[in-house]
Assembly symmetry: C2
């Protein structure tokens, strides 16, 4: 099979809607994904941290992925998260994503055991790549030590690129540490390794240093403005655009991020069911919700075409 | 259905044997479980941290559980770990364990998200209990903050006991903090909440304060001596027995615990395949292995009937 062009630009780790009984809601999910693609997202990193992906089983995620594709979302725009603690789960969902034609997969390291060796992590990724055994697989490593507690080091990236150059495509750096993103760019970007910032706060810096975009939580609610900076990062207006999207992010992250994104979608989309989170996460309190919406409105924020 | 008597005594979080291709090896697993029950274990906490349980899928664990029961291991001796990040996975494996007649289940909190609220954790456990919906369910909470990073607080335990008194049976405390175990005993043991120490280092203290035994990694290799202390904790010789089993533990935990347990079983059972760990864990280095075996032998350690 011919390789599709790699995704670049703004990706959203799409929040997952749940029914009152915590079942994933495929209909709302497809609608939100279509809105995101219409509104500025180049791609959808479904099943990320902000998607409550680890709160869902592999079977639940496979069903949602199939619903997206059959609901008209192009597989070439999808970069599902497929890394689990269990090797067998990572293999199963990665294989399913490749077979559906997804542009890539975003892969967490196994995150239960702490303090594991690079050799153990290498074996995990290498075993997945070899068992999936498909040249179409484009694997993006997911570095998010504040949550996973298991880092992906530069040494590990180097070893994986050198052994699997056709499959290891890039990284999402959610360390929040620009010096780490910069080191990834300096070491690997020229060799065709695509570095995505894990927050739009670093989008302009990432682009100026050879990065390919960002995969960001607030892409769920503010995709248009973030995409404008991505498209115009060389313009004289870039720093102002960066300041504006960073300001919006700061409003959202004053509240717990995932329920805040859902509360914004519920409010601006006039669809309260969106507020439900799956345990162990919980919805915002009334006061948190009111603060969020008041602050967003005061900033001039809107979500055109959502309601 | 009549409720079976609750397990008390020494439980082993049974290490899981893997083939060279990392597939779980049901034959070796059944044989090791039978040896443990013959050698001092009152019960088997299969699918614990030391079992690399989170490195296996739910389907792999169901198959192993069924292999145990069909291989002659009494379900009444089993307390499988059934807590996952994904609510749906926890429900599926818990239900399977109850339907097989397992004595109980040992349940981790969902451990991907950090800093979650007690309300969110409460909803997780409550939803599992209600969806399984079986009076036979005996749920033991698994508190292991050094690994899970998500604690089970006294307030959470109190709320769960008060809402589900027939199902919430006890706790394994692997905090390594005796003052926390003591607080659990002081607050809940008299009400019929069974506290197991997460290490035999605290077995005597736990028994003297109303606890029910221990669930300990080194139960995989030293079940007889640990059980002797459990059976004779009121004897004049108890402190000497405690010192002896603690000394053996200290030898093992000088090396990474899980591969060390496997190396000991491989050596004393004359079965090198036991050394394999599933990624992200790796086997001991040759030097670590030699140090472990030399130190164990020098202490007079043996595993009677294993080879």
């Amino acid at each position: 099979m011919a390789k599709t062009k790699r995704i670049e630009g703004v990706l959203s780790p799409v929040v997952t809607p749940f029914n009152k009984d915590y079942a994933p809601d495929a209909g709302r999910f497809v609608r939100h994904c279509r809105w995101l693609l219409k509104s500025g997202c180049a791609g959808l990193a479904v099943f990320g941290t902000n998607s409550e992906a680890n709160s869902m089983s592999v079977a639940e995620k496979r069903k949602l992925l199939e619903a997206l594709v059959s609901g008209g979302v192009p597989a070439a725009a999808l970069m599902p998260g497929t890394g689990h603690c269990a090797l067998a789960d990572s293999i199963e969902l990665t294989r399913a994503a490749v077979e559906l034609g997804c542009a890539g997969v975003l892969m967490l390291p196994p995150f239960y055991y702490k303090g594991v060796s690079d050799e153990g992590l290498y074996r995990n990724f290498a075993t997945i790549i070899e068992r999936v055994g498909d040249e179409r697989l484009q694997l993006y490593l997911y570095h998010i030590p504040p949550v996973s507690q298991v880092p992906i080091t530069l040494q590990l990236i180097e070893k994986l690129i050198s052994k699997y150059p056709a499959n290891v495509a890039g990284v999402k750096d959610s360390s929040g540490d620009w010096s780490n993103t910069k080191a990834m760019l300096d070491n690997f970007a020229k060799g065709g390794f695509d570095v995505f910032a894990g927050s739009e706060e670093f989008l302009l810096a990432n682009m100026r240093n050879g990065g390919k975009g960002c995969i960001t939580a607030t892409g769920n609610v503010n995709p248009g403005a973030i995409d404008q900076l991505y498209r115009n990062w060389r313009s004289a207006d870039a720093d102002r655009m960066q300041a504006a999207i960073t300001a919006t992010r700061k409003i959202v992250q004053q509240q717990p991020m995932i329920p805040a994104l859902k509360a914004a979608i519920a409010h601006f989309g006039n669809d309260p069911q969106w507020m439900t989170c799956r345990p162990p996460l919980i919805e915002l309190t009334k006061i948190q919700e009111e603060t969020l919406i008041t602050d967003l409105k005061a900033s001039g924020f809107s979500m055109p075409g959502l309601a």
